[in-house]
């Protein structure tokens, strides 16, 4: 479980997050919805301890990570997988090497087990035959699936997605969303999805938090979003995609 308690963050004079309180339960999919540049991705980085808040607390499975040292954070981070918006694949490594990179780096596993886990993720992502290709030779959807495979290879409890369907064509988007849904059903994984596409929320999320001007203005099960009266939520429900 991940909890943010009254988290505030400033970059210079600009206040990005104001008193954000948020809970992500295990085995559920939580969406964070909001316009671009509002601080949604920042929330994911806070959850991983990649950046520190100016105030408030962040807890992962009951452990306060707010002021934890970088070296102590590594064990916490391995409980979560992260899929970055731009995939953040290592462009000089092949798909197989990308998938196995962190296993070789951080876990003392025999090479045979690493190869087996890589093969599982290749199969899961439907990338058989592309093992020795470089990321640049794959399509956007394929690269996203490699990034998901890389996040899953550690067998984390929770997976964090930063705009999982951004920049993808409708067919690839649909594939990625069904992949995310299958993770909870087949792997018992929880997930946090940051998105500005409201259809993604209704397609996969159990609950949704809406971030607007640095504050959470709605946090409840997805179905109740239709009942919200906030003018911003009414406007996004009518427009569907937040192009702000």
């Amino acid at each position: 479980m991940i909890e943010l308690r009254k988290v505030g963050l400033k970059y210079g004079d600009k206040e990005i997050l104001k008193n954000v309180t948020l809970t992500v339960e295990d085995n559920t999919i939580k969406a964070i919805l909001g316009p671009s540049g509002v601080g949604k991705s920042t929330i994911l980085k806070l959850m991983l301890g990649l950046i520190k808040p100016n105030r408030g607390q962040i807890l992962v499975d009951g452990t306060d990570i707010t002021n934890m040292k970088e070296t102590s954070l590594y064990d916490i981070r391995r409980k979560m997988g992260m899929v970055f918006q731009g995939n953040a694949l290592f462009d000089s490594l092949t798909i197989s090497q990308n998938l196995g990179f962190f296993l070789r780096e951080n876990m003392k596993l025999p090479e045979q087990e690493i190869s087996q886990r890589v093969a599982e993720q290749i199969q899961f992502a439907g990338l058989e035959g592309y093992e020795d290709q470089l990321p640049e030779s794959l399509s956007g959807g394929m690269r996203r699936r490699v990034a998901i495979g890389r996040a899953l290879i550690f067998k984390p409890h929770m997976i964090l997605f930063d705009e999982p369907t951004a920049g993808l064509d409708p067919v690839s988007s649909k594939k990625i969303l069904s992949l995310i849904s299958s993770l909870r059903h087949n792997n018992n994984l929880g997930a946090v999805i940051v998105t500005h596409i409201i259809d993604d929320v209704f397609n996969v999320a159990d609950s949704v938090a809406v971030l607007y001007q640095g504050e959470i203005i709605f946090d409840d099960v997805t179905e109740k979003l239709h009942d919200a009266n906030h003018p911003f939520i009414r406007s996004i429900l009518s427009d569907k995609i937040l192009e702000l």
Partner: protein
């Protein structure tokens, strides 16, 4: 109106100073973390070898070209000057001192600042803006130990032989020009070199190699890690890395010479 203008300038200056000191603090912590990662050298020995190839073996051509050209030019110019005083036989002595103490290491430092430093800045900057460095941290790998420490170790190891190579090539080209341009017998040239060189001359020259290695690697890597603002940001951070490290190499060159020559 002038009061407002002066106050505005004052505020701007204070903000710039604050930003400067914050950057210095970040750079200091970055450098400490890079040195503290040295125990992980066994884990990252392959990365050290890769970087040693990049900053060492691959840099040989540019180091040779610069050393040969400066050695040859030095021999011509200094030879002309010495001729006026009838002291052409001292060409070997003056060329050797200049090349071994100053120009050999300095040119190597500047060439590697441009070659190795720009590569570091661009590569790490591109990794930063494409979130690859965040990905390393997110999956539990220390990016400084993985990316910076191997570069630093490789530079510390490889800059020494490159300095020796630069000195050797510079002196050989000076000897060639002495023989073919000034008609000085090679025996006379080298006799003016060998017997007169003392340990101090080599200490001055070779002490600069590790100093330059630290400056170039840390400054360029820090700028790569600090890249923001897309591809233009990578360009800016790379240029900044080269300019700052080249400037620091020139300053360090002066102080290492001064300190060693005054104390040995």
């Amino acid at each position: 109106m002038p009061v407002m203008f002066i106050r505005g300038l004052g505020i701007k200056l204070v903000l710039q100073l604050k930003a400067f000191f914050l950057t210095m603090q970040e750079f200091f912590l970055f450098s400490v973390r890079a040195f503290m990662s040295f125990p992980k050298i066994i884990r990252y020995w392959r990365d050290v070898l890769d970087q040693a190839t990049i900053c060492g073996t691959d840099s040989i051509p540019i180091v040779l070209v610069s050393a040969i050209s400066i050695g040859a030019l030095l021999a011509i110019e200094v030879g002309n000057l010495l001729e006026d005083f009838g002291a052409k036989t001292m060409l070997g002595r003056s060329t050797a001192l200049t090349v071994i103490r100053e120009l050999g290491p300095l040119l190597m430092g500047l060439m590697l600042s441009a070659r190795f430093g720009s590569r570091n800045g661009a590569e790490l900057g591109a990794m930063q803006i494409s979130e690859q460095i965040d990905a390393l941290r997110a999956f539990g790998t220390d990016p400084i130990a993985k990316l910076v420490m191997p570069r630093l170790v490789a530079a510390l190891i490889m800059f020494l032989p490159l300095t020796a190579l630069s000195d050797f090539a510079g002196l050989q080209s000076a000897s060639y020009m002495a023989e073919h341009y000034h008609r000085i017998d090679p025996g006379i040239f080298w006799n003016a070199v060998y017997p007169r060189l003392v340990a101090k001359d080599f200490v001055v020259g070779f002490l600069k190699a590790p100093v330059f290695a630290v400056i170039i690697t840390l400054v360029s890597s820090f700028n790569g890690f600090s890249a923001r603002g897309g591809t233009a940001g990578v360009g800016r951070s790379t240029i900044k890395g080269i300019v700052v490290s080249s400037g620091l190499v020139l300053i360090a060159n002066f102080y290492v010479s001064k300190i060693v020559l005054e104390n040995m």
